[in-house]
């Protein structure tokens, strides 16, 4: 926001100089050009920073899943949150249209799977976790479970479970 203020101030000063130049003092053309360069530079830096933030937010969707933890959401501006929601929505529509009736969840199976069930160990307390056939599993630190792959993939990516190779 401060950068925007600065830009506005520079622009106004530039305007004043432009009118003065038109009034006949042609040696000021250089100054105008100089300020224009500065403005362009500020604009470029700002745009690159915002674009980079967007790229990181997009990466977050692929890493974290649909819901962002609160600490991260706190650091995003309102427009970024809206962008994230829209991106989520377009990604969901795309996934639904791709694989048959139910659609294909592209965020699963990032690495080619070797088996349906995997062995996981829990790294942090996460509370209860419900499996497809209704049984709940209590996730406490260092407890090991044998769970279907698609359920745990999210949690492993988030660092809550750890995949154990036998």
């Amino acid at each position: 926001r401060q950068a925007l203020e600065e830009m506005r101030a520079l622009y106004e000063r530039n305007q004043a100089d432009v009118s003065e130049a038109k009034a006949g003092r042609t040696d000021l053309i250089f100054l105008i050009r100089f300020r224009h360069c500065c403005l362009l530079r500020n604009q470029r830096c700002l745009l690159a920073y915002l674009y980079d933030r967007l790229l990181r937010i997009r990466a977050l969707r692929w890493e974290y899943g649909s819901v962002l933890p609160n600490t991260i959401q706190f650091h995003m501006s309102a427009e970024e949150v809206e962008w994230f929601n829209r991106y989520k929505k377009s990604l969901a529509t795309y996934m639904r249209s791709v694989g048959g009736e139910e659609g294909l969840d592209l965020t699963q199976d990032i690495k080619p799977p070797k088996s349906l069930y995997i062995e996981v160990r829990c790294l942090r307390d996460h509370g209860e976790f419900e499996v497809d056939d209704g049984t709940t599993i209590l996730l406490k630190k260092n407890s090991q479970h044998f769970l279907p792959r698609w359920k745990c993939e999210q949690l492993i990516r988030q660092g809550i479970l750890e995949h154990v190779l036998s």
């Binding site: 690159a48 990466a59 706190f74 080619p112 190779l165």
Partner: protein, 212 residues
């Protein structure tokens, strides 16, 4: 292994990538130049004058960043004329042609290749030679970079990387990543699902930012 964050990379050749952070940093590097005509009111900005109505006289030497030089340079060349920084001049060019592996490119301005490509935008009678030198330096140093990046596994690479400029460092990291991925595959860890690096980074930072 599969990363989701793809930053915008630097531009190739004589054009820069507008949104690339690397290019922005690179264009911040300074060049020596000379003012061709009197520059009114600029003295304050350049830190040389006291009043706001002073102008820099013609012919005085200035150090300007690349982005400013590109903006103010004009085919009629009324405002600024640029000289080459010393690393692209005759003396250094002979050093490069003698043995390019010895030069510490990081110390000489960490953007040797990128900056050199941008310099070709300004008209200068030595441009073909500059272009040739940059190319030859790269060819000479490339073999060593590739060799060291592919064979340094699980070691501290700071000694190897210290003398490389930014472009070479990026190449080195790509090589290292390929090597690590291959070793990972050989050990059978390729199918192990891991927490992504973004997640791990956030986990480390959470402790400091929770109160913010």
């Amino acid at each position: 292994m599969a990363e989701a964050y793809f930053p915008v990379g630097p531009g190739l050749g004589m054009e820069e990538n507008f949104l690339s952070l690397d290019d922005i940093l690179m264009s911040q590097e300074k060049l020596p130049g000379r003012a061709e005509s009197a520059l009114p009111r600029l003295a304050v900005l350049m830190g040389q004058g006291a009043g706001s109505a002073e102008s820099i006289p013609e012919g005085s030497k200035l150090e300007i960043p690349l982005w400013l030089a590109k903006g103010l340079h004009d085919s009629k060349r009324r405002i600024i004329s640029v000289d080459l920084p010393k690393i692209y001049k005759e003396a250094w060019r002979t050093v490069f042609s003698a043995d390019a592996n010895v030069v510490d490119l990081h110390k000489m301005g960490p953007y040797y290749y990128g900056f050199g490509s941008q310099l070709l935008n300004f008209e200068n009678p030595e441009n073909p030679e500059i272009a040739q030198t940059i190319l030859q330096t790269f060819i000479a140093r490339f073999r060593r970079i590739m060799d060291s990046s592919q064979n340094a596994y699980n070691e501290d690479t700071s000694a190897l990387v210290a003398r490389l400029d930014e472009l070479e460092r990026a190449l080195f990291q790509v090589g290292q990543k390929g090597l690590n991925d291959f070793q990972c595959w050989e050990k059978g860890q390729a199918s192990q699902i891991t927490a992504s690096s973004l997640v791990q980074n956030y986990g480390k930072r959470k402790l400091t930012e929770v109160d913010g």
